[in-house]
């Protein structure tokens, strides 16, 4: 009993124990912060990656694409209605992105999608900016530029479809925070002091001198990766300098089914900025633009092209994104769809051309996890590595606890002698210091969990405060990490694991001093003054 009693009493009265507690606390807090931030980072990456693709992606991995996709869509719809919910074709190519009103020109990955289908197979819709506040107004078809106008009563209003869409959104939005967020958007109220309600003005919409209207020749719409078009401020918000409906030009290089340039001059595609997309993955948002599938297919000469000897080529795509029925297991669905593809190819018989045969040979089904595996694994490895390194640093706690307990044993030599004189065994006295170290570990861990959790929960506020003192202190750059905010969730399992390891570390650290205490010769200890 004395072991527990004295350990508790020493814990309360010995100042030196607080150094042990402090070292355990700091190590626990440090590892918990690293685990939480890296874990949160990984979780966010996984969640965002999940939203990039449909559950199953069928692709050939080649820019010239593969044919017979429409036939396969019908095939799986008929053969596997219990597995496949919907599928949609996607085309990928590369081009040059330009904003004609400026000198801004960048390379871009051009993605041809059928927007209505595409938003049903993945989370693309969630990242659309205008679609969020003006639901139902984003499309990739031909469109003119919406221009807000000044009304007779001094208010600025958008053209009718947009104004009523925003009203619908306001009425349906139940979260006051989101409404508040909308009201904080960088709309220029300052120019119109008489405006009572917030109305989007320049920057996000063009404003004209007359009544609200649509201006300019109709052009196909383009959804642009947000980081490609807008500047992301250090606080994570975007500085929107280009208004919706602005002219955009894409230059494309069509490829023949063999993969060679067609010989035709590059295609210049005039488009209008319909919306911007934010998947949350910086590498995608600074590179991708999305245009109407059929338009891109046509301009890349991937649609049916007449052949010299009569007949025509088969239209081609790069990817078929397939959404599954609810509850269907991902990997087994991939395998079944891959099997279906092989059966489909066999069903095509010998009639297909050699070129098509080659294109079809490499078509493979992947799950969304397969598609992002390399990226996710890299982050997973990074998490393990960083946790390991910080865990290694935390081993210092073991050494520190060892040193502190060695000092405590030295200081408590007389007490050890007294206890032995009162009948305590060497094992019992050693046990006292192990229990004491365990108590230091438990208290240090609990405090560490508290400090670490509070730190993680407020990590973004802390960073904001530091950045307000000196911008150089902003360590989490939204431009680099894709996310505006540092992940701020603490997982219970992580906390328990860190605490258990910390308590064990404290106990391990105390073993040598405890062994020394157990071997103290009581006579010598009692003469110790």
């Amino acid at each position: 009993m004395y072991k527990w009693f004295l350990a508790w009493r020493y814990l309360n009265t010995k100042l030196i124990a607080f150094f042990g507690i402090a070292s355990v606390m700091l190590c626990v807090a440090m590892v918990l912060v690293v685990l939480s931030v890296m874990g949160g980072f990984l979780d966010t990456i996984r969640a965002r990656s999940r939203g990039l693709h449909s559950e199953i992606v069928l692709e050939s991995g080649s820019l010239q694409g593969f044919p017979y996709y429409e036939e396969f869509q019908k095939y799986v719809a008929k053969e596997m209605p219990d597995v496949v919910r919907i599928s949609t074709p996607v085309i990928y190519t590369y081009g040059i992105f330009r904003v004609p009103a400026t000198t801004y020109t960048r390379p871009a990955r051009v993605v041809g999608i059928r927007l209505k289908e595409y938003v049903q197979v993945n989370d693309f819709a969630r990242g659309l900016y205008y679609e969020r506040y003006f639901p139902g107004t984003t499309h990739l078809g031909e469109q003119s530029m919406p221009v807000a106008g000044l009304m007779d009563d001094g208010q600025i209003k958008l053209p009718e479809p947009l104004e009523s869409a925003n009203k619908r959104w306001r009425e349906s939005e139940t979260d006051p925070k989101t409404l508040e967020e909308f009201d904080r958007l960088p709309f220029e109220k300052a120019f119109f002091p008489s405006v009572t309600s917030v109305v989007p003005a320049t920057r996000v919409f063009a404003v004209g001198a007359g009544p609200p209207s649509f201006e300019g020749a109709p052009k196909g719409g383009v959804i642009i990766g947000v980081d490609l078009l807008h500047y992301r401020r250090p606080d994570g918000n975007f500085d929107r300098q280009i208004a919706r409906g602005a002219d955009i030009a894409l230059t494309l290089m069509p490829l023949s089914p063999t993969g060679n340039p067609t010989g035709e001059p590059p295609v210049r595609l005039p488009l209008r900025y319909a919306d911007d997309s934010r998947t949350g993955i910086y590498e995608i948002d600074e590179l991708c633009v999305y245009v109407e599938h059929d338009l891109l297919q046509h301009h890349l000469a991937m649609d049916a092209q007449p052949l010299e000897g009569g007949g025509s080529t088969r239209p081609r795509i790069n990817q078929l994104q397939i959404a599954l029925q609810p509850g269907v297991e991902l990997n087994s669905a991939r395998d079944r769809i891959q099997g279906a593809w092989h059966r489909f190819r066999v069903s095509l018989g010998e009639d297909i051309t050699e070129m098509d045969e080659r294109a079809l040979a490499f078509v493979t089904a992947y799950t969304w996890e397969d598609m992002q595996r390399q990226f996710i694994q890299a982050v997973e490895k990074e998490k393990v590595l960083v946790t390991f390194l910080f865990g290694l640093i935390s081993m210092v706690a073991i050494v520190l606890v060892g040193c502190i307990f060695y000092m405590i044993v030295e200081k408590k030599t007389k007490d050890i002698g007294i206890l032995k004189a009162l009948g305590a065994s060497g094992k019992g006295v050693g046990g006292l210091f192990v229990v004491y170290a365990g108590a230091v570990g438990v208290v240090g861990s609990l405090l560490g969990l508290l400090v670490g959790s509070v730190f993680v929960w407020n990590i973004n506020d802390i960073q904001d405060i530091l950045a307000s003192l000196n911008p150089q202190l902003r360590v989490w750059s939204p431009e680099v990490y894709s996310f505006d905010r540092i992940p701020e969730a603490v997982k219970r399992a992580d906390a328990v694991w860190v605490a258990v390891v910390a308590v064990l570390s404290s106990i391990i650290g105390s073993l040598i001093p405890a062994w020394i205490a157990a071997r103290v010769w009581p006579v010598k200890a009692l003469r110790y003054e």
Partner: protein
Amino acid sequence: MNNTLLRARDIHRSYGEGPTEVKVLRGVNLSVPAGEFLVVMGASGCGKSTFLHILGALDAPNRGAVEFHGKDIFSQSAQNRGFYRNREIGFVFQFYHLMPELNVLENVLIPRMVGHSILTWRRARREAKSAAAQMLERVGLSGRARHRPNELSGGERQRVAIARALINRPALLLADEPTGNLDEVTGADILKLLVELNDAGQTIVMVTHDAKVASQAHRRVHLSEGVIRETVAATGGREPAVVATARIAQ
């Protein structure tokens, strides 16, 4: 009837080896009957405390045996020797050796705690606290139970040490210069307390070099050059109380 509680046979103890070897005890023989108040005297450094530590199994002899109720304590396991120190022996030291983090009551309770696991303590706690309170009352410190050692005088600290030594009702109280660190009046008080305890049946072996203190014993032995040179019977008219088992009546 054989009334011998403790017997030391041919105790040898030396420190160091080879040319630096110091032979402290060179064949000490002593027998302590139950109920006796025995004083071991001798010059500083003659080995009195070493002898006392060997009697209490805090130190081991190089040669010889210490028999308690006829059983050699050094032929037993370390665990049994711990049990012997906890249950059969009570130590009182010159410098009190109280634990500064604990209050008076807790200091007195520590030997009881040593004898219990955390599980058995739950049942024993109430009785132990009551025994500690009685013991403090007996040494005249019932009003000081919640004080820390640094809030007590030297005499009071020594009384706490005596209460702690007696909490497990040991057969033998070993006192190493218990008045050596106290002024004359306080020392006399402590001695009076020890005499009262002895009168109640407590066997005491005390080390001292103070002849005045020694005069209160039934018997005093002189240790010189590692052996007992002289045994002197009591001169103050005190005779050992007749006790069958040397336990203090509670």
